[in-house]
């Protein structure tokens, strides 16, 4: 029989090991790190976690993270409001923002179509995107879903939906490492990708 930790500690380790990228060993390490810290430090960490969860919301328009109803990008009057860049995750939005090259708006789908992961079109923020296209004055859509098969399928699915609306649809298409995800593309390739976008046939 293997050694058992006392219950509160075992629970903490268990909680950590549920986090992405954290295995049982790292979970143990983190738990012992917490125990070693002063009560004040731990309290401040716990408070930061709670506050982040309570105060950080999704923008009601584009899905970006924000502490207000509408995010800074959607509020910013200097941004080009005729163009929307559609991404899978907030992480991708941040990656594109970091290039400093893109001045339009965003729309976060919250994933890509992937039945194997239980994600069908109705689980994505597609309805709200179509609603935006009908109410805002959008001239161009950039489909910046990931260059893997799920991203491709999602892009061509969206393209079929948007086609009848007479809006120019382009697909981010250049220099992004094949099969990768946008998050790992560096800023130079992303900038190239945005400039080299192509009209979908």
């Amino acid at each position: 029989m293997s050694f058992r930790y006392t219950k509160p500690l075992a629970r903490l380790i268990d909680e950590f090991s549920k986090m992405p990228g954290i295995g049982p060993k790292t979970a143990q390490k983190l738990a012992f790190y917490i125990l070693k810290n002063s009560s004040e430090r731990v309290a401040s960490l716990a408070k930061a976690i709670l506050e982040a969860k309570e105060k950080v919301k999704h923008c009601s328009i584009c899905g970006n993270i924000t502490d207000q109803e509408v995010c800074e990008i959607c509020q910013n009057i200097n941004r080009d409001k005729s163009i929307i860049c559609v991404v899978e995750k907030v992480r991708d939005l941040i990656a594109i923002e970091n290039t400093g090259e893109y001045k339009g708006l965003y729309h976060v789908l919250e994933g890509a179509i992937s039945p194997l992961d239980g994600i069908e079109p109705e689980n994505l923020k597609i309805d709200s995107l179509l609603k935006r296209l009908k109410t805002e004055k959008i001239k161009e859509i950039i489909l910046a879903t990931n260059p893997n098969i799920e991203g491709e399928v999602t892009a061509s699915y969206l393209n079929r939906l948007i086609e009848p609306l007479n809006i120019k649809v382009t697909r981010i298409a250049y220099g992004v490492p094949i099969g990768g995800s946008l998050e790992f593309a560096d800023e130079v390739t992303l900038t190239q990708a945005l400039m080299g976008r192509q009209k979908i046939k």
Partner: protein
């Protein structure tokens, strides 16, 4: 490209070995279970960094030892490379071992992929008869491996295709109404067709090319008595089409026509994942009608074609390893096969139970060794 030297330490049944080779034909004679196949496997390990026999590297370490070292010297384009490969069992916790593999090229630690890019080898082993006799999945694997080597784009489309299949089969297994099912499938079908048609076309083109080469060799070995024909069998196309838009259209029609069936069986029934190829001699299918010798000769012809494809791409011949190839071939076929290899100036390693299979002319030009209980003697 050729191997000059091999040294082994605590490798399989070889505790210590040091041997030099000729750039031409190297023959190893030995009774059963003396180490002939082990030796060919060691040569392959030097040039490729992994075994062609096992996925479990631990098997390579001699039973009574904790580590093994292999060393080889390769000459390629007048340049010398020293290759070291070591495997070491390291104690992780009191009862767990971890196997550490280190590959060095000219004393610098390198990844296996660097080795793979630089050096190539083609193996014939009796198990490869399965390419003819085995299940269709073995032939698909053969095709996929061969084409991926020369055409990286193929590999990418292949992995995409299998990912789409997974998604599509997942949809087919869902308990929802027909209409919803059809709608969801339609999201994936265009990509399935695009990638799938590319795979089919590339396979047909590849087989055509390898057929041309293999047939030439087959005719030489059989003195013109037999011709070899490879036919791709697609469950979408009636005959071997080479027009991509024709293939895609046929693919699209097929899944449209049989959607009912796919929904009933809850699985994707059409596409390159179900395809196969036939090997025919003088118009009959040798998987069903071929003799053992004919099947063996056909696999050899395929391997010789593979040798040519690598030469075409890399500019130099790879190393050719032939395990137990002589048995089941009659004297005439043996003779023509050896002549062919000698003509090509491909460094070749052949194992055999008996030296009687080789005529005096061949023997004169080769380096012959005898393997006995993990030791090698010059003959």
């Amino acid at each position: 490209m050729y191997l000059k030297t091999l040294r082994l330490n605590n490798y399989r049944n070889f505790l210590k070995l040091s041997i030099n080779f000729t750039p031409n034909l190297n023959i190893f004679i030995g009774d059963n279970a003396q180490g002939k196949t082990n030796l060919l496997e060691a040569l392959y390990l030097i040039i490729r960094g992994n075994s062609y026999r096992t996925k479990n590297d631990q098997e390579l370490i001699n039973w009574s030892n904790k580590s093994t070292c292999l060393y080889g010297e390769i000459n390629k384009d007048e340049e010398n490379f020293q290759i070291n490969l070591s495997l070491e069992k390291k104690l992780e916790s009191f009862n767990k071992f971890k196997l550490i593999k280190t590959i060095k090229i000219n004393q610098n630690i390198q990844r296996k992929s660097i080795l793979n890019k630089e050096f190539k080898g083609v193996v014939f082993s009796p198990e490869h008869l399965q390419i003819i006799k085995g299940a269709p999945s073995i032939r698909r694997k053969f095709l996929n491996e061969q084409i991926s080597q020369i055409y990286p784009l193929y590999y990418r489309h292949l992995t995409d295709y299998y990912r789409i299949l997974g998604q599509r089969n997942n949809i087919l297994k869902k308990e929802i109404n027909q209409r919803g099912l059809r709608e969801r499938l339609l999201i994936w079908d265009p990509q399935l067709i695009e990638k799938g048609s590319f795979l089919i076309l590339t396979r047909i083109r590849f087989l055509k090319k390898i057929n041309y080469l293999a047939d030439k060799f087959h005719q030489k070995i059989t003195k013109g008595k037999e011709n070899l024909k490879i036919i791709y069998q697609s469950n979408i196309l009636k005959d071997q089409q080479e027009n991509i838009s024709f293939i895609s259209r046929a693919f699209e029609d097929k899944i449209k026509e049989h959607k009912e069936k796919e929904i009933k069986y809850k699985i994707s029934l059409f596409g390159p994942h179900r395809d196969d190829f036939l090997v025919c001699i003088n118009e009959f299918n040798i998987a069903s009608y071929g003799s053992q010798g004919q099947q063996r000769t056909s696999v050899l012809s395929l391997k010789l074609a593979e040798l040519e494809l690598i030469k075409e791409r890399e500019g130099v011949y790879p190393i050719f390893l032939l395990d137990d190839v002589m048995s089941e071939l009659d004297e005439e076929r043996r003779h023509f096969l050896l002549e062919l290899i000698m003509d090509k100036k491909v460094q070749t390693f052949i194992t055999s139970i008996s030296l009687d299979y080789f005529n005096s002319n061949i023997k004169e030009k080769s380096k012959i060794s005898k393997i006995e209980g993990g030791k090698i003697f010059a003959l």
